[in-house]
Each structure stands twice: as C-alpha cells, then as structure tokens.
Amino acid sequence: MKIAIPFILLAYYALHQDFWNWTTARPLLFGFLPIGLTYHALYAMGAAALMAVLVKVAWPARLEAWAEKEPGE
C-alpha cells in the first residue's frame, strides 16, 4: 500500500488541472456556484478525505518513538 502513496499523490495533484471546466460556468450548483468553483470546492473536500486515509496508512509512528527516545536507550 505504502508504495502506491507517491502515485496517488501525483494523480490527485494532476486532478487539480481541470481543463475540461475551463471555459464554461454552467451548470451552477445551488443556482450560483459555477462548475469551476464547485469542482475545486469538491477537490478540497476530497483532499480532506485523502488526508484521513494517509494519516491511517502512512503515519510515521517510528519517527515519534525515535524523537522521544533518550540517548543511550
């Protein structure tokens, strides 16, 4: 799973460049949010979900133990 993390991050980074929404404002979410803005609001929410997964699977637990360890332990 951990080996896939860089590729997942790269793929999510690429999704930021939504060229397909570039020249259009419609459809308007709730009647006023243009599609370009709606997409990026959803992108931010997706980032929160992705971070929750990363914290679960890629949390540097050994780093914390290393930092707390006294010299000579």
Partner: protein, 496 residues
Amino acid sequence: MTPLLFVLAYLAIVLYIGVFAFRQSRGQAEDYFLAGRSLGPWVFLLSLFGTHMTAFAILGSSGHAFNFGIVTFGLMASSSAFVVPVLLLFLGTKLWAVGKKFGHITPVQIFRDRWECGHIGTLIFFLQAALLIPYIIIGVMGGGTTLSVISGGLIPFWAGGLLVAVVVMSYVFFGGMRGTAWVNAFQTVLFLTFGMIAVFVIGNGMGGFSAIAEKMLNDPKTSHLLSREKFSPLAFLSYTFNPLSAIAFPHIAIFCLTAKKMTQFKRTVMLYPLCILLIWLPCVCLGVFANQAQEIPALAAKVDMKFATGRPVVADDVMLQLLGHFAPEWLAGMLGAGIMAAVMASDSQILALSTMFTEDIFTFYGARERFGQKAQVTTGRLFIVLVTAFAYFTALNAKASIFDLAVQFSFAGFSAMMPLYVGALYWKGSTKWGALAATLWVAGATIALFYAPRGFTVWGLAPVVPMTLGAAFLLWLVSTLTPKPSANTVERYFSV
C-alpha cells in the same frame, strides 16, 4: 460607529490574552519562543491555521476574485488544501521530531547541525528574514485598510495600521509563542464562525446569489469572471507551486516544533483542507459577486475603472465595502472583528523573526553565553519592537496590492526554499555546499524578480516554478560533487 467599537473591543481582548499568557510564562527562552513545546491538539490546529491564513486570505483573495473571478479559488485555495497537509504530514512531523530530539528551535539550527555549517546558516537566516518582511507588511496594510473602511474614514489608513501594529507588537512582546498561539486560535474561531454568516447576510442583501450569478452570466463584461477562459492553464499550474512555501515559512516551521506530541499533527492534517474551504470559498464568492454591487459607489467606481482601462484595480477593501453596506451595524462589527482577526496574523511572523534573530544570530555568535538567557528574551522583545516599526513605516509607502505583494516575493521565495528542507530531512547525500548553491540561487532570483515587470513569466510559467526547480537542481548537483557531512551526523539524523 458601532462596528468600530466592536473592533476596538476585539483589539482589547487580544491584548488581554497576551498579558494573560505573560503571567503563565516561566521566563525561559524555550518557554517564550516555543510555549515550552506544550500546545494541545485543538490549539495546535486552530493557531497553525490562523498563522497561515492572513490578510492575504481574506482581503487579498476577495480583491483578486473581484478582478479575476473564480480562478482565485483554484489558484491558491484548492491547491493549498492538498499541498499544505501533505507537507505537514511528511515534513512537519519530521521537523517536530528533529527539533524535539536535538533541542532545536529554528530551521537554521537544524540546517547548521545537519550540514555542519555555521555561516551558511547565517546566510539562510538573512534570506528568510528578507522574505518574511513583506508578509509582515501585508498584515499592517490589512489592519490599516480594515480600520479605515470600518470607521468610514474616521480612522485614516496610517492610524489604523499604527493601532494594529502596536496591539500585535504588545501581545507578541508580552505573551511570546503562548500568547500568539492563543490569540491565533481565538481569531480562527471568530472568523470561521462569522465568515459564514457574512456570506448569507450579504447574499440576501444583494438580492440572492442566484440572481446575481445569472446577471453576471448575461453581461458580456462580467461573464468571464465565472469561468477561467481568460486565464492561462500554464499559469494556473504554476500557482500550485506557491503552497510549497507553507513549510518553508519560518513561522510555520517553528510552529511545528510547539506541538506537545506528534499525534497532534493528525487532526491538523485531516481538517486543514476543510478549514481552507470554509475561509476561502466565501471570500472568493463575495469578491466575484461584488462586481454586481452597483449600489455601492466605491465598488461601482472600481468596476467602471476596471472596464475602462482593461486593467485590474486595487480592490483589497471589497469585502469590507460589502459588509459596511449590507450587514446591520452590530453584525458588521462582529464580522469586522473577524476580518481583523485574520489580518492580524502577522503576529506569528514577527515572533518567528525575533526567535530566529535571538537563536540564529544572538545565541550562535556567543551572546547568550556572555549575557544569559534573560538577556536573550529581552533582545527578542527589543527585536519585536524594531521589526514592527520597520514594517509599519514600509506599509505606509507600499503601493502594491496585498495579493501581489504576497505572491511576488514571499510565496515565490519561500517555495523555492522548500527543497532545502527536503534535502536536510530526507536526503543523506545533501551537503552544505549544495545548500549554499540553492540559497544563493533563491536570493539572486528574488532580487531579479524585484526588478522584473509585473506579471513576468518564464515560458508561460510563473517565476516560482523555475525558482523552485532551479533550487532543487542546484542542491542535487552541487551536493553530488562536494564532500558529505561526517558519518556521525548523518547517522544521528537517519537512524529512525
């Protein structure tokens, strides 16, 4: 008058928080500069976010959206919502661990220890300080603008900026990191709460966002603001490099060292994107829709000038104009205080500069050994006064808008310094000479940027891209050709 009273009451509260934090302090350097590495999870999240979100996020973003439309959100907010938590997860935690293990307080201390260098660290200090000053100026300018507009011109820009500068300086001076963190946490809660109310109140006042959106789409002069048709995709891509600055900003890097436990990063990493969404989406929406607020003379004049000249106008006061016109007085006061909260985030930058000066210069060159720890804290406080005074007098003469000032210097420069952090913390092969080459590159490129015309690009890319890639390339190239730090040092840092 009522909104002004609310804002003044708010300034009194944050001043009191600073004094309260002062009473809790133990007078030691680590306590003053890092709150004794004791911040809990919620304060850590709220104040780290408050530290990152400044006048730029509130006033600059709505001003930019007024001129350029919805593209503003994708340019800075959604990219930050992804990039910043990733940086906190992989670099922030490592900074915390190294700081905790070796007792470091600033990034330069880490660089000096990791690469076994002295004066190169001093050079990095000066570059960081030079890049941070514009960001502090942004805060003072935002404070001056906010008070001036909220008071209906009763308090001029110079007096508003002065009042904000003095209040910020005072609670940083007394409260140190503890006071700054508490104030930032309070500020974030205030703005997150009242920011959402502002959107609904102003939206209703303008006749509903749906009606405004339809009007804008049917007007050829404004329809482009609801799409990105006038913005180059390559420039849009370039802006994703700007959030790399987050971890290289000394105030954020130093803040990473204040957490009590590393697990406190978890909540911050997960909730950061949502906090960004909650702050930026209302600001961008209001900035765009302000183009239809023809009943406000100041905004109507800006729209006319924009279309007459075909150039962007100074629009950092857009949000405040909307607030003053559409919100009832008491609510405008609460919201004004909320906005004031965000624009006053220059506190942590001022404290960071003071911390860096006392640790990286004062202590490193032997003054703490000679004069003691009390003298170190006193010097830090004196430095706070000097930096604030300098920022204030520069802000009085600054002509660029908040957004331009931030993007052109601070973001580009600090983003380009990010490879130094990756090299020091994740690459055994990095050397002090590689770090020197990258630092000189960033310094030279920033000076060149200062003299470059506004909107300057390199093959269609914003300067931040070649600056960052150039720094990474030089760090790699020169490090591969020069001798490595001792095996002992490398072992100490990579024995995880």
